[in-house]
Amino acid sequence: MQVNDTNKEFRPLIVAFCCNWCSYAGADLAGSSRLSYPADVKIIRVPCSCRVNPMFILRAFQRGADGVIIAGCHPGDCHYTSGNYFARRRMTLLFSMLDYLGIERERTRVEWISAAEGAKFSATMNEFAETISRLGENRRLEDLRCKE
């Protein structure tokens, strides 16, 4: 793991793919409950966690994300019955592959956050942002053309 001590100013860009039915509502709840989470977390609402295609995740990294998190309904609670079960397998394999290619494993994460878990949403995002800050800028899966 690379620890970025030299650049204290570094603010990670985090992309969070949130399931419309649970996690996005969880984010809403976090907001309305005045629970804070870093402004550097950019939320992209998806109809279900299984809508997240591996291409989305890689594209996020290409466009400057330093960490990508996918948040969906708890297993068993999927609005579409089983979407998150499929997502779970896909993301497990994809993350394992990224790890295999030497890309820091901490940069990707899946969390199950329900509509009632505003506090969990806030805590997860804070903790993830913290991890990514420690890790520093995404170098191994960056596209230099996209850097300004």
Partner: protein, 330 residues
């Protein structure tokens, strides 16, 4: 040198003469011993048909088109090809009734590039005698051990048993079960990488993938890559399929391609065989296969068309993605 077994040739002739088939998918000889080309033969051209230790190509992908033509085609399929054939059947890409699968035995196929790597250059012909290959070259006769010049896919052969066939040309030789040639060593390459540090793995893959010239040979030869239009050929997708622009695009292409065939890849090894840059692409596919085996139970694509594929099924007890983080920090 005779380049086809009489039994195989006669069997094909019979199939055409008795009306079972009207053509045969096999190989045609080239300029030297190794540059054989997949080709379709009719009754008139059967004399040019060959099948020997240089016929390495996986023929099953050609059957997508061939099986949708009129008539019935006999296809010479090696044991490993039958996995891909089965997988394509499962995906409804091949019209089964239009193909007569003629299972041919395989003793491992020879890779001329590996011979060149051993310093055997200017290859004109070869005589194979058991485990020894005697190459006739511009610079004289050179011999080597057959296993030193086998294709990567043959070194990790899944077994000599055909998964599907209408007839075998050599039923005596057919084993009861598929026994991997080299035990479990198929995943040794993956394990070796897994045991490296992330930094080492990153450097390894950059070294390999940076050679990619975006020729798309791996995709076009892959029996699992049978999409009518590939995402990498869609200009609206914003990826430049043929442009070797930078590291990211190389990573993206290979990760997405391997992911897209995960659970469907039979590990036929064609991607590695055709790569002009000798990138060990099988190490990507085998990583997925190994993970699937470890996390969701042993699964071999193309083994049984009735089984649920690992990425289109699930159990409630599946491992969480966090397992990737928990597997020991390397």
């Amino acid at each position: 040198m005779q380049r086809i077994n009489d039994d195989v040739l006669n069997k094909c002739r019979d199939l055409i003469e008795n009306g079972t088939c009207d053509r045969v998918l096999a190989w045609e000889e080239g300029e030297f011993c190794y540059d054989v080309t997949p080709a379709v033969f009719t009754g008139d051209t059967l004399g040019k048909m060959i099948y020997d230790d240089f016929c390495a190509a996986n023929q099953s992908k050609y059957l997508i088109d061939e099986s949708h033509k009129e008539g019935r085609i006999a296809a010479l399929l090696k044991p490993c090809d039958t996995y891909s054939f089965n997988q394509l059947l499962k995906e409804n890409r091949i019209k089964r009734e239009n193909v007569y699968v003629l299972g041919v035995p395989c003793d491992g196929k020879i890779d001329a590039e590996k011979a060149r790597g051993l310093g055997i250059k200017g290859i004109l012909g070869a005589e194979i005698d058991g485990d020894t290959v005697a190459f006739e070259t511009i610079y004289g006769k050179k011999t080597c051990s057959k296993k030193d010049v086998l294709h990567e896919k043959c070194l990790s052969c899944k077994g000599k048993k055909h998964m599907i066939f209408d007839e075998l040309t050599d039923p005596e030789k057919e084993p009861e079960t598929a026994v991997p040639e080299n035990g479990t060593s198929r995943f040794d390459g993956v394990s070796k990488l897994e045991n490296m540090t992330a930094e080492e793995r990153f450097r390894f893959w950059r070294g390999e993938l940076s050679r990619c010239i975006r020729c798309n040979a791996c995709r076009n030869v892959c029996p699992a890559c049978s999409c009518r239009q590939c995402v990498f050929d869609n200009p609206a997708s914003g990826v430049s399929s043929k442009a070797n622009t930078n590291d990211f695009e190389e990573n993206l292409y290979h990760i997405i391609r391997a992911f897209h065939v995960a659970g469907r890849c039979t590990d036929c090894g064609e991607c590695t065989r055709v790569c002009p840059e000798n990138i060990p692409l099988h190490l990507l596919n085998r990583k997925f296969i190994k993970d699937i085996n470890e996390l969701y139970g042993e699964y071999q694509a193309g083994y049984d068309t009735a089984l649920d594929a690992p990425l289109t099924s699930y159990t409630k007890q599946d491992a969480e993605p966090g397992i990737v983080h928990e597997r020991g920090v390397r």
